[in-house]
Amino acid sequence: METLTGPVMFLPIDNIDTDRIIPARFLITTKIKGLGRHFFNDWTHGSNASENAKILVAGHNFGCGSSREHAVWALADYGIEAVVSTKFADIFHANALRNRLVPVVIQPEDHERLVAALEADPASIVTIDYGALRLTCGSIDLPFTAAISEIGTEESETPGGEELEILLGQSRLIDDHEAARKARVNTLGGR
C-alpha cells in the first residue's frame, strides 16, 4: 500500500449514514460478496462517480448509523479503496480497517479546499500517498491521517482475520481470566 491515484467518486454530503450506503432491504443476504451493486442504491441526487473510481470523497462525519459491516463490504465490492472525510463514525471506522478500506481523515479547512477543487472539476485526479501522508489534487497538497498501521499486512480472505489470529494466540490469557471470573458469569445454559 503506497499510493492510490485516480478519478474520484464525489459525494460532498455530510453525515452519510450506512443506510444510505446500503439500504436495509439489501441486507437480506448471507454472503459477503456481491453487495457492490446495491451500493448507494437509493441515492436520489446522482453522483458524478467515474466508473473506475477507487477513492470516495464525502462530506463531514461519514458512516454514522447502523453497525452493518455490509456498508464496508458494499463499498469494497464496488471497488472503493479509500474514503476521504473529516470524521468517521466509530463502528464504521473499525469495520473499514478490518476490510482494508482506508478511512482518510483531513482537516475541515482542507476539506473545504478539496471540495471546491472537485466542484470546479469533478474529473480531477486525486492522489493519496500513504508513505508521505499527503493527499494531492491539482495544486492542492494537504496532510491527512489514517490508521494505516491497524490495517493488516496480509491479504486475508477473512475480514478481521488478523485480529482473530491475535485473539486466538491469547487463549491462555483468556482461560485464566475466565477461571478467575467464572462465578460471576451468568449463562443461558440449564434453563
Binding site: 437480506i28 437509493d42 463502528i91 473499525a94 475541515p108 477473512t158 482473530l164 491475535i166
Partner: protein, 476 residues
C-alpha cells in the same frame, strides 16, 4: 477494589480487560464479553467464518439468538407457521436456525414466547445485569447500558471474534457525562429527553466516547425509560451509554427468568451495590441539561440531530457558517419537503408507527393507548402498533391495550423491528410522511423516498388522532 478515581465505565472495562496491563500506545485491549446477542441479519457471515476455519463457538451458552429484523409482523396461519413473503428473508431466518443448531446457540425463533427485538427481549428475560459486557452486531446494543452494563454494537467480523474467543480487541474509549437534572413536565417523556440532548450536542459529539447519563431526571426514570435514553446513545455518536445501577435496576431484575434467584439474588445485589457505587471519577467531557425546560420533540430533517421542540420553527440553513453544512442542511429540508422558518405543527401525516427497540415496551404502549382511548385514528392515516416482543404483546393484551388500538382503527401487529427499518415488507410509500417512535430518520430508512419524523409514543398517538403534527399537551 476501591472505587477512588474511577467512573462506572472504568470499573467495568478494567474488570473485563484480559491483558494484565493496559495496552501501550493507545493500542487495543483484549476485552472479555459476558453476553453476546445475535440476530439473523449480521450473523450468517460470522458463522461462515467459523465454519470455514473448522472452529467451534467458545461459549454457546453466553450467546442468545432471536429473530427480529426480517420477520413478518402479520399474524401466523392457524397452524402457527408464518407467511414470509420475501424468499431471501426466509433463507436468512432458516440460516439462523441451522447455524444455531449446528453451533449449539440457544435460539428464540419466530413464534417462541421469548422472541422479539433483541434489545427488548434480552433485558426482559433478566439476561442483562449490572457490570456486564454485552455486544451484538447491532448499533442499538447501547440500550443495555441502562442497567450499568457496558454494551455496544460491533461489525460482523467481530461477531466471529466473539464466537471464537468470547473476546474482542477494543480501544479504550473516552468518557462523556450527560447530566440531566430537574423534573420532566407533563407530556414530556424519555424519548423527548434524548431527542433534545442529541439536537443540542449533534450526531457526532459522542464519537470515540462512551456516554454516562447522570442527574436527578435520570434517577427518577423507570428502567424502560432509561432504556429509551441509552438506546439512542449511538444517535449521539457514542457506541455505548451507561447509567449507574440502583434500586430501580435491582427491582426490575428481581424474579426475571435469567436473573439470580432467591438467596443468590440478594447476594448479587449486595455485590452490585458494593462494586458499582456512585462514581467519583472524572469524565473526559461533560454537558448538563435541565429537564424542567424540555418539551415534546420532533425531528424535521434526515438525521436524529435535526430535532426541535414541537412548537418551534424549522431552522434556516442560511444561519450556518460553513458552506458544506449549509448545502447538506438544505438538502435535508428539500428531501423532507419542509420550509425553513415555518413550524411543522399542522403538517399532514400519512403513517404513524409505534414500535422499535426505542419505544415498543409496555410503558410506551400504555402511553400511546392512554391517549388513543375513546379516540379514532384520523381518516387517511395508517397507524401501526408493533410490540417489541411476544412478552410485551401478551402483557399489553392482558391489559386490553390491543383493544384500545383496534377500536381506534390502528393495526395491532406481531413483534419485531418492522417499519423501523422496513426490511420485512412493512414500509411507507415514496413521499409519505411517517411519525415514528423509532430512532432513525435517515433518507429511505422506512421505505424508499419515505420521510420520517421521530417522536415519542405520546406525540405519535396524538398525530395519529389529528392527522397532522400535533403538540400532545393540547390533548391531555
Amino acid at each position: 477494589m476501591s472505587q477512588a478515581g474511577k467512573t462506572l465505565f472504568d470499573t467495568i472495562w478494567n474488570d473485563h480487560r484480559v491483558n494484565d496491563a493496559p495496552a501501550p500506545d493507545g493500542g487495543p485491549d483484549t476485552l472479555y464479553i459476558d453476553l453476546h446477542l445475535i440476530h439473523e441479519v449480521t450473523s450468517p457471515q460470522a458463522f461462515s467464518i467459523l465454519r470455514d476455519r473448522g472452529m467451534k463457538l467458545r461459549h454457546p451458552n453466553q450467546t442468545m439468538a432471536t429473530m427480529d429484523h426480517s420477520t413478518p409482523s402479520t399474524p401466523p396461519r392457524p397452524d402457527g407457521t408464518y407467511v414470509i413473503e420475501n424468499p431471501d428473508a426466509e433463507i436468512q431466518l432458516t440460516a439462523l436456525e441451522s447455524n444455531c443448531s449446528e453451533f449449539g446457540v440457544p435460539l428464540y425463533p419466530l413464534g417462541h414466547e421469548n422472541q422479539g427485538i433483541v434489545h427488548v427481549t434480552a433485558p426482559e428475560l433478566g439476561l442483562v445485569q449490572p457490570g456486564m459486557t454485552i455486544v451484538c452486531g447491532d448499533s442499538h446494543t447501547s440500550t443495555h447500558g441502562a442497567f450499568g452494563a457496558l454494551a455496544f454494537g460491533i461489525g460482523t467480523s467481530q461477531v466471529a471474534h466473539v464466537f471464537a474467543t468470547q473476546c474482542l480487541l477494543a480501544k479504550r474509549p473516552k468518557t462523556f457525562e450527560i447530566r440531566i437534572d430537574g423534573a420532566l413536565q407533563p407530556g414530556v417523556s424519555a424519548k423527548d429527553v434524548i431527542l433534545s440532548v442529541i439536537s443540542q450536542i449533534g450526531t457526532e459529539a459522542g464519537t470515540g466516547h462512551v456516554f454516562e447519563y447522570t442527574g436527578s431526571a435520570i434517577r427518577a426514570m423507570s428502567m424502560e425509560e432509561r432504556m429509551t435514553v441509552t438506546n439512542m446513545s449511538i444517535e449521539g455518536g457514542a457506541t455505548a451509554g451507561l447509567i449507574q445501577p440502583d434500586e430501580v435496576t435491582f427491582d426490575y431484575l428481581q424474579g426475571r427468568d435469567f436473573a439470580p434467584q432467591g438467596p443468590d439474588f440478594d447476594e448479587a445485589v449486595a455485590d452490585w451495590r458494593s462494586r458499582f457505587q456512585p462514581a467519583d471519577g472524572v469524565y473526559d467531557r461533560c454537558v448538563s441539561f435541565n429537564a424542567d425546560e424540555m418539551e415534546p420533540m420532533i425531528t424535521y430533517g434526515t438525521n436524529p440531530g435535526m430535532g426541535m421542540p414541537v412548537r418551534d420553527t424549522v431552522p434556516d440553513p442560511a444561519d450556518l457558517e460553513n458552506k458544506s453544512d449549509r448545502l447538506s442542511f438544505q438538502r435535508a429540508l428539500d428531501y423532507m419537503r419542509v420550509e425553513p422558518g415555518k413550524p411543522l405543527l399542522g403538517h399532514p401525516v400519512d403513517v404513524v408507527f409505534v414500535g422499535s427497540c426505542t419505544n415498543s415496551r409496555l410503558s410506551d404502549l400504555r402511553d400511546a393507548a392512554g391517549l388513543m382511548d375513546g379516540r379514532k385514528v384520523n381518516d387517511g392515516v395508517r397507524m401501526l402498533v408493533v410490540p417489541g416482543s411476544r412478552k410485551v404483546k401478551a402483557a399489553a393484551e392482558l391489559e386490553g391495550l390491543d383493544q384500545i388500538f383496534l377500536r381506534a382503527g390502528a393495526e395491532w401487529r406481531e413483534p419485531g423491528c418492522s417499519m423501523c427499518l422496513a426490511m420485512n415488507g412493512d414500509k411507507i410509500e415514496p413521499g409519505q410522511l411517517s411519525v415514528s417512535t423509532s430512532n432513525r430518520n435517515f433518507e429511505g430508512r422506512q421505505g424508499k423516498r419515505g420521510r420520517t419524523v421521530l417522536a415519542s409514543p405520546l406525540t405519535a398517538a396524538a398525530c395519529a388522532v389529528t392527522g397532522v403534527i400535533t403538540d400532545v399537551r393540547e390533548m391531555m
